[in-house]
Structures are given as C-alpha cells and as structure tokens.
Symmetry: C2
Subunit: 433 residues, 2 copies
C-alpha cells in the first residue's frame, strides 16, 4: 500500500518529539501498519531560520501553515502549535478539506472540542491523545479499551509540575516557594507557574476527560479548582500521621445531583496506588460500573512521551484512511456531547482535613468544636504534633463526612476568631481511590 502522507505544523517540544519517533521507529511502524508513514510537509513560523532535526529530505518545509493544512498532497494534518486562535484555524482548514486532524492542544479542545467535533462529523476525524497526560494513553483506553463500560468515577493526577512540587515538599520537608524556585531553576516549572500550581492546566485536562468518560460538554471554567500554594511540610506530616498523603487530584463522579468535578489538593490513603505516583508522572484511576477499578500511569509530559501519543494517533487515522473507513462514525468516545449536568461543589459530601494555625491559648478546641457542632459537623480526630512556635501553632481536626457548604460556613465563622492566625485550610479526605 502506498504511504500515508503527514503534514506536521508546529516544531516545538511535541512536534520535534513526533518527528524524532517517526524517524526512529519508521520501519517498525510500517510493519505494524502494512504501509509507510511519510512526513510530506513540515511547517512552523520560524522554520526557515531555525534548525529542526528529523525532517526527511523530500519533505516540503514552509513557514506558512496554509501550504500544509489544506494541501492536496497531505493525508493527515498534525496541529502541534498550541494556543487557541491559529491552531483553531488550522484544524478547521484541515477538516474542511476532509483531512483527519491530530492535535495535542488541551486548551483548544477543552474550550472548543465539541464544536470542532461537530464540524468534523461526516467529514474527517479529530484525534487528541496527546492533549491529556502525555505518555498515558488514556484516550485510547476510554474511547476503546474500556468503552463497553459505563464510567462512574475517575481520579487523576494530571499536572506533572504540581505533582513534582508536592512530592518534593513531601520528600524534603521544604517550603512550597523553595521547591517552586528549584523546579524553575531545573526547568520543571515555568517562569509563570500559575497555570500549573493554581490547577488551571489540570482543570482543562479534567474537562476533556470528563467529556470522554461521561459524554457531557464540560467547560473548564465550570469546574471547582484549588491550587497547591498553601500546602506545607506540616500538612504532609499530619497527613502521614493519618495514613494519607496529599496530591492535586482531579476528581470526577456521577452523583444523583449531577457530575461532581473538582481539582484540589486532596488527602488520599498512602496504601492506594495513586499515592505512589511521584514526580512528574501522571496517572488516572477509573471506576467502571462493570469492570470496576483500572489504573493507568506514565509520563505526563516530555517531547518523546507526548510524541508517542501523536504518532499513535497518526497510526489510527492512517489505518482508517487505508481501510477506507468513512468519518460517518466519530472516533470520539461519544458521537455527540450532551449539555452538562453538574453538581454544585456545595453539595459535595466528604470527610475533611481541617488545618489551623493558632496562637496558643485555652479553649481553642472547645470553641472550634462548638462551631463545628452548630454546623452539624462531627469531629473524627484532633491532632497536634509537637512544635515550638506557640504563636503560630499548626493543628488539625478531621471531620466525618459533611456537606462542603456546611464546612465552608463553619470555617468562615472560625476565621473571625482572634486566636486564628491564618485562614483555615480544608482538604477533602478521598476514600474513593
């Protein structure tokens, strides 16, 4: 069979990873597919001035993506430039020309995936394995591997930078700012780390996975999101005492009140497999109605792991082309996304870890206990590990499952108390993983 011709737009981290893999694994990929993949055109804004490795001799090299996305000699278009403007133009141009699109663009797909899917239907297919959890083939799993199941919940660690920071705080008992600074020096965190440490990056990925798992059109902005800036070595010390650790967990559950979605630092049992996800790794724990628990783990980012996702998507699209599959049936997990039916975070019910910083004085526990009781919240345990700083004493109360709204109301009352030095921190105790 003749080669399938790839047009690749964007030669940054992901694009160069995909080019390297196509060069490296070419003959194995041909043995898998029964035909070769050929890089026919490569484009990026500055491609004429910068040196890009692994572009085959015969390939067209151009700074103008339009010479690739709609070109007659291109079978499959890879949009690997990121962002939400030009990237969208590229994808729409390729779809209009009936060409399958591979993208690694989580922002765009979380924002406009459903529209693009609708535009694609009947014309071409969109593949986006690389958009979530780089090296973890979670799209193939949800779309195909366990497609027969009905997902009830999943729990993901989807941002490598924040997981690296948390597990470094845990391992070295260092403060957040010190670990972040070190991560920036090492290139593990960006100069502006907001998207990573505030959970926004993870939130886009959660939105995409929720669309795939539950078939609802979930906007990232509609998801409750809390970052990791307030997590201290004390919190790990207390969490360990409770047999738990802390991770930035993307949680998704079907509940009678709707989909419950959140991104937040969460206490999870030390014994759960999710707790062994360290450093920049990503992982997803899925609970299906029939297949029950499955777990997927791999590198969250990096040119080559993400490149594997891109190349695997290219293979899927190329197989469809050579076997003559039409785009009548979408390769998305659901043919159409339903309008979202989301539960409010207020109605979330869970045990909580409440961490206070207080000026030592008498009657603290009694006062806090009274406020919790008045809000219908039962104390599970009170913990105070030894420390010297009596003016800024951390201590922890864990509470039995309670409504989030009630917990927030209680904490707001507590914030006004004169012995409270810092806004109390509330983290859910996730028993579901």
């Amino acid at each position: 069979m003749k080669p399938v011709r790839i047009g690749l737009i964007g030669t940054g981290n992901v694009g160069s990873g995909a080019l390297e893999i196509l060069a490296l694994n070419g003959s194995e990929l041909e043995a898998k597919l029964g035909f070769p993949l050929e890089i026919a055109a490569v484009s990026s804004r500055n491609i004429l001035t910068k040196s890009v490795s692994n572009i085959p001799a015969g390939a067209r090299v151009t700074a103008d993506w339009r010479e690739v996305a709609g070109a007659a000699d291109i079978d499959i278009v890879c949009e690997l430039i990121g962002g939400t403007t030009t990237a969208r133009e590229i994808i729409e141009c390729a779809l209009k020309a009936g060409k399958p699109v591979i993208t690694a663009n989580k922002e765009l797909m979380a924002l406009a995936g459903p529209e693009l899917q609708a535009e694609a239907t009947g014309k071409a297919t969109i593949h986006m394995e690389a958009s979530v959890a780089g090296g973890v083939p979670i799209h193939a799993v949800l779309r195909e591997g366990i497609a027969g199941d009905s997902a009830q919940a999943f729990f993901g660690i989807l941002n490598g930078t924040s997981n690296y920071i948390l597990t470094e705080i845990e391992a070295k008992s260092s403060a957040f700012d010190d670990v972040l600074g070190e991560a920036q020096r090492l290139g593990y965190a960006e100069a502006d780390p907001t998207a990573d440490v505030e959970g926004y990056d993870a939130r886009s990925k959660l939105a995409l996975l929720a669309q795939m798992a539950f078939g609802q059109r979930v906007a990232p902005g509609s998801i409750y999101c809390e970052g990791i800036r307030r997590i201290t070595p004390f919190d790990f010390q207390y969490a360990h005492t409770l047999g738990h650790t802390i991770r930035l967990v993307c949680a998704a559950r079907r509940t009678p009140a709707g989909l419950a979605l959140s991104v937040r630092p969460t206490l999870i049992p030390k014994s759960t497999i999710l707790a062994s996800v360290l450093g920049a790794y990503n992982a997803v724990w899925v609970r299906g109605a029939a297949g029950q628990d499955t777990f997927y783990y791999g590198r969250g980012a990096g040119a080559l792991p993400t490149g594997v996702a891109v190349v695997s998507d290219i293979m899927r699209a190329a197989r469809d082309l050579r076997s003559g599959a039409s785009a009548r049936v979408s390769p998305f997990s659901f043919q159409k996304l339903a309008e979202p039916d989301l539960a409010s975070i207020d109605d979330f019910v869970c045990g909580y870890y409440l961490r206070f910083r207080v000026k030592d004085s008498t009657g603290i526990i009694a006062t806090l206990g009274r406020i919790l009781a008045e809000n219908g919240i039962s104390i599970d345990a009170v913990l105070q590990l030894p420390t010297d700083d009596k003016a800024n004493l951390p201590f922890v109360i864990t509470v039995e499952p309670a409504r989030e709204a009630d917990v927030r109301k209680a904490l707001l009352e507590m914030e006004a108390l004169d012995f409270i030095v810092e806004k109390p921190l509330a983290l859910p105790l996730e028993r579901g993983v």
Copy 2:
C-alpha cells in the same frame, strides 16, 4: 444507523458477563456509537435446558453454533466457549463468512493466533482484548494507545490466582498448601490448580502480549516457566529484609541475543508500583523506547471485567462495520508476525536471590562461597534470620548479576552437598521494573 447484530456463542462466565453489560449499558453504548448493538442470536450447548439471563426477547436461541457463526443475519460473532477445537471451528466459520470475530480465548490465540490472523486478513478482523488480563485493556494500549512507540520490555502480573496466593502467603505468613486450600474453598482457585500455580496460564498470556508488543510469533511452549509452589513465608521475610517482595512476573525484553521471555517468581523492589498489585488483580508495566514507563492495572478475571473487554471489542468491530472499514488493514498490532528470535534463558544475566535449607554445621558459607567463586559468581549479601530449626535452617545469599547458566551450574554442585536439605531455590532480582 441500523443496529449491528451480534451473535454470541458461549454463555459461561464471560458470555454471561457480556450479555449483562449489553443489557445494562445499552443506551450509553448507543450514545457512544451512534447506533445500537443488538444481540441477535445466542448459542451454547445446553442453552435449551439451562436458564441464561439477559437474552433479549427477539434473539434466536440455539444449541447449534453453526446457526450463529455463519448466519446471514449476524454481523459480528463472539466466540466465548474457550478450548481449542470447537472454538477454532467457530472462528474459522465466521471468518470465512467475512464476519469479525471477538474472542476471549487465550489458549487458542496463543496457539493458533498467527494462522487465524492470516486466514482473517482481507476478509474480517479478530479482536481478543478479553484473552489477557480481563479488565486491563492492554490490547487497546499496545495496538493503539502506544502503538507509535517501540516496546523494549514489559513486566506483567497476568495470573490472578497465583498473585492472590502469593499475596496471601505474604500477608498471613501461611504455607502455600494452606493458602491454596483456602483459595479453592473460596472459589479463587480451581480444583486442579496446575495451570495457575505452575505458570502455564500466565505463559499463554505472555506469549500473546509478546506477539502484540514485538510482532514475533511466540509459542507458549518456548517460554521458560516456573511456578510458585516452592515460595514460602520465609522467602517473603527475606525478600522484605532486602526491600523487595515476590510476584509471579511475566518478563519480556528485547536483548541483543533475541527476545528474553520468562514466567517465574521474581523479587521486585517494594517501592515499584508493580509491588502494590495485590490479590486477584493483574497489571502490566511497559517500557517503550520513546514513551518510557507506562503501567496498566485492573481486575484479572471475573464475568463483568472480562465482559467489558468483550463489549469494547464488539464496539470497535461495529464501528469499523458502520464506517465501512475493510479488513485490508489488520487491527492486530502487527500486520504479520515474524518468526521468533528468542534468547536462551541460559544467557539471561541478573542478580539472584538464592535460598538454601541446610543442616546447621560449620563451613557452610565457606563451601557455598567457594562454589560460587569457582563459577565466576560474586556474592552481594548473606542473610540469616533467626530460627529454631537447626536441622532445616533457611538462609539466603544474593549474588551480583551473573549468567543464569552459571548460577544453575553452581546450584547443581551445591545440591550434592551433604548439609543441603532441599534443592536450592533461585529467584531473579528484577531491577528493571
């Protein structure tokens, strides 16, 4: 779009699980696919006398598989009876009629998969997600999710019964026979446990995964295989002291000498994620040239988890039918399997855990140390935990990486020594996971 019509043959554990899921998730599956799946015919030998749940009212029910496998009104055939004779006839009949086949049959596919794949090519497709690691979608992962990568190695826990037995020995310090008896009483192990505890079941699965990962035609009988009968609570005690645990590991590696494949009880570090696979769970750790480490975990068996695999395969085949994909391109991981190029277990190089049982006397270490040295093997550590039974004293030597053939030769010499009470046990120390 009109329904895709399923013919299901075999209503045991897996078949009934698939029927239950199709009944349970019907509307969600239709939302995913854009068309319904319809159980059009169900067959099993004794179906006219036994009661089978979840057969839809309109379905044809017959004791004769021939009324299903080649029938004009059936689009997809599920062979779920197991065994290697009738099952093969069913699959060949369906393929001849151009119908895609879903099978859960690991024995048959490990034995005759390549021939069946060759028979299928150009006519129809074979899907066998359910044949390995029930609830873990490892086929979708290798065939699709990380297809762009070149697998360098993988390590699997692929037999739930033996993993259950090992982790019970570990947790309860009970003897193998006691745990096996209890597992049989609870229905976790079969009356004849040979296939599970001797590693034969795991070996078939390893053969199938090696075919998918490396594109070589691997016969189960060509794989080195060692069961778990000799593992004692002592071994776990020593392994823990060394920071390790013991699992029945299916290992596969590309080496310069060929594919190195083995099924054997293996020491793996306590800190590796594979070590947290407990009870009847299955897992596979894959190392790719580009994507590096990924890990997949789920239930190894059970009607519903395995049913998810069957139904997910049905969906893949149904999508192909409705999108008009021909069988020109095989959905197998490789289009054709190459002849196997296997490394001999003799050439395997690894650190080893050597466990002895001796009559206490002087000069034991000196004698064993001399024999190891004469075979070019360096001692890493000598361990003897306290015990009372001086006539049957377990103790352990770990050795630096050495050729398996040299280790065996040394052990054979040691076996003849008069202070050796029992054939020494050698387990590899797997640092690769």
